[in-house]
Amino acid sequence: MFDILADRAIYMPIIVLMMMGLYVVVATGNLVKRLVGLSIFQTSVCLLYITVGKVFGGQPPILPPAHHGEDHGEGHAAEAGHAAAAASSHDAPVHDAPAHDAADHAEPAHGEAAHAEPAVADTGHAEEAAHGAASHAQDAVQHVADAAHHADAAPVHVEGAIDGVLYSNPLPHVLILTAIVVGVATLAVGLALVVRIREAYGTIEDTALSAADYSAETGGRE
């Protein structure tokens, strides 16, 4: 149990932060401060999403520029098998794969690249590339130490990596970009309402507002 929680300890303070925001929203009567609480609540939810997408030893999800455009085979190859050793045939990209990561995963890399071969081979386009990858992978273990510096080194397969480089998950980032924008839009509308309420009532405290409404309903008009 302790191990299970220790691996996920990071979520606990985030939950506490979320609840702090929620507490402020509900517990305060000041209309501006409630919006402050709301924005803290939302920001903390953003933190939750992003921590889920984090990968240790990962890079921001920006692929090296040299990488895009040319090699068709690569996409197919990787598609064919999730664990397939993605091989870039024409332009071996220069990555700065952290050496210790590569070393950690050297053993699985060996085995998986070998049985990735049949899965990849049937995609005609990628055939050549796959063979290259597989044969390279045979001696990947020797290569790992200098993989980072080797311009034409075969990409060492790390679990979940692209060309030997781990990237953090881009999807939560995209979702949270949207959520942040929604948050600021809500904040703007909320603040505009607060300004109007202040002009109409002369106060922005919840208790005073309720009192004003109550007297208007019972005593005041007609």
């Binding site: 979320m18 609540f41 939810v45 979702l175 909320g190 309402l193």
Partner: protein, 508 residues
């Protein structure tokens, strides 16, 4: 050029109908926003909404042919891209929002001209178009995060629209603010829930989520996600203990906004809840099954009674109907909680019927307000003589709300009772009857002054009979007559509801 014309032929149009439904109002909104005067903006809004209604027939045809119409936005197939998905469940909701939206837009011109400043009307209609498109977007999407985005589109516009009631009563501002805070909490809860589902499935497409959940089974994350989604959408749908934002929002918004929101917004949120409960999660999963009995049925029953009691004691006519709405959501929750296809069908039937009742009722109240500026129950005195036609429409809606035979209110309550009896839930039937009696009480409180009291005389002068602008009278009349018509020709809507329920409950 040929391609351009080719795209205009109906078959090409039909193929893109699921997305056109939403994006046509959406692209017309910025156009309306820059119009110099409100009348032109209204015409643009009407065009957008009418186009949506035109898109409904191809959708009906498509669903009849293939059961599911899937549309890959951006051309990216489902788990990577966002998918629009029309099936038997959301088709009635789309039809409901489209048709009621169209009727409300007709109604809007005279009503908005009375209640909103000339300088703001163009922006008002632009905001309405965004709200309309947002509601449709929630109903048509098959992507969990896209639901959130469109919920926020419709909500943000709603906050602005409700606050426009401030011209009459400043309480519209506080009502809108409270709705904003609670609505945002609800939306954030929903995002947390979707995040949990994403953690457990790695995807955002609802059908794909359901597939992964069926393979991997459920764990603590999906259970917590379930709770957060229910609370989040429950806030939007004004499910009983989470309804506190609704009465004031409906009571102080401009009349047209109330008529539109009361018959569409909570319905769409309720649909989204059903979608998550039955399509993403599965009704056979233990905790979903338990929650439908113990959360939806029991809380729904409590809502039916408590909210009806609250409705009886309101002094503001629109607030009476607003609390009644909370009670009606209770009926739908009960239908959902029964847990059978019949129960769900009854709940959905009541959802559609309630939209027609409340549409007619709020439109009639808006007509009273337009001519005499009345909003409180006692001010309705003598309306039967001053505005007889509107009063008749109001009466039809009111009787339907009670569930008097010969109205659709009776039809849906009848099916609810049958479904509850199938389960042997006598207590639910008893509560339903009690709640109907309470409904009789609060509707009678509204109808009595209208028909049996004389209008207060102002210095001896009796108020003259006043006509309602035909743009208001026609949609109001249509909705009021629909309350009677569909009692005698119930088959089409009953079949829609049955089809929807069977689509998610695995037909029988």
């Amino acid at each position: 050029m040929m391609e351009l014309l080719g795209a205009l032929i109906p078959s090409a149009l039909a193929q893109h109908a699921p997305v056109l439904l939403v994006v046509v109002p959406l692209i017309l909104s910025p156009v309306a926003a820059v119009m110099p005067n409100g009348r032109i903006a209204w015409v643009i809004a009407l065009i957008g909404v009418a186009f949506t209604v035109l898109m409904l027939p191809p959708l009906f045809a498509g669903v009849q042919a293939d059961a599911v119409m899937s549309y890959a936005l951006g051309g990216w197939a489902a788990p990577l891209g966002i998918e629009y998905r029309v099936d038997a469940l959301n088709l009635p909701i789309l039809a409901l929002v489209g048709i009621i939206g169209f009727l409300c837009t007709l109604y809007a011109l005279p009503s908005v001209a009375d209640e909103v400043d000339e300088g703001k009307r163009a922006i008002f209609y632009a905001t309405f178009l965004v709200c309309f498109a947002g509601l449709l977007g929630v109903a048509v999407t098959g992507d969990a995060f896209n639901v959130f985005v469109f919920v926020e589109i419709s909500s943000l516009s709603t906050y602005g629209l409700i606050a426009m009631g401030a011209g009459r009563d400043r309480r519209a501002l506080t009502a809108s603010y409270n709705y904003l805070v609670l609505g945002t909490i609800g939306a954030t809860f929903f995002v947390i829930g979707v995040g949990f589902l994403y953690m457990a499935t790695g995807t955002l497409n609802m059908a794909d989520m359901a597939r992964v959940l069926a393979e991997n089974g459920h764990d603590r994350v999906t259970q917590a996600g379930f709770a957060f989604i229910v609370v989040g959408l429950g806030l939007k749908a004004a499910m009983f203990p989470l309804h506190v934002w609704l009465p004031n929002a409906y009571a102080f918004a401009p009349n047209f906004v109330t008529a539109f929101l009361a018959s569409t917004a909570t319905k769409v949120a309720f649909y989204a809840l059903i979608r998550f409960l039955f399509s993403v999660y599965h009704p056979d999963v233990t905790f979903v099954d338990l929650s439908s009995t113990w959360v939806f049925a029991v809380v729904g029953t409590i809502a039916m009674i408590v909210a009806s009691v609250q409705a009886v004691f309101q002094t503001d006519a629109r607030r009476v109907l607003a609390y009644s709405s909370v009670a009606q959501v209770g009926y739908m929750m009960l239908g959902l909680g029964i847990g059978s296809a019949d129960g769900l069908a009854a709940g959905l039937l009541h959802l559609m019927n309630h939209a027609m009742m409340k549409g007619a009722l709020f439109m009639a109240l808006g007509a009273f307000a337009l001519n005499y500026g009345v909003s409180r129950v006692k001010d309705l005195a003598g309306m039967g003589k001053s505005m007889p036609a509107t009063s008749v429409a109001f009466t039809f809606g009111g009787l339907s709300l009670v569930g008097v035979p010969l109205t659709i209110g009776f039809t849906s309550k009848w099916y609810l009772i049958l479904a509850a009896l199938e389960n042997g839930w006598w207590w639910a039937v008893a509560a339903l009857i009690l709640s109907s009696l309470l409904a009789l009480a609060y509707v009678a409180r509204l109808l009595m002054p209208i028909w049996f009291e004389n209008a207060p005389t102002h210095g001896g002068a009796v108020p003259k009979v006043q006509r309602v602008p035909w743009l208001m009278a026609v949609p109001m009349g249509i909705l009021a007559l629909a309350n009677i018509y569909f009692f005698f020709h119930a088959a089409p809507i009953v079949n829609l509801a049955r089809g929807a329920a069977n689509a998610v409950m695995g037909g029988f």
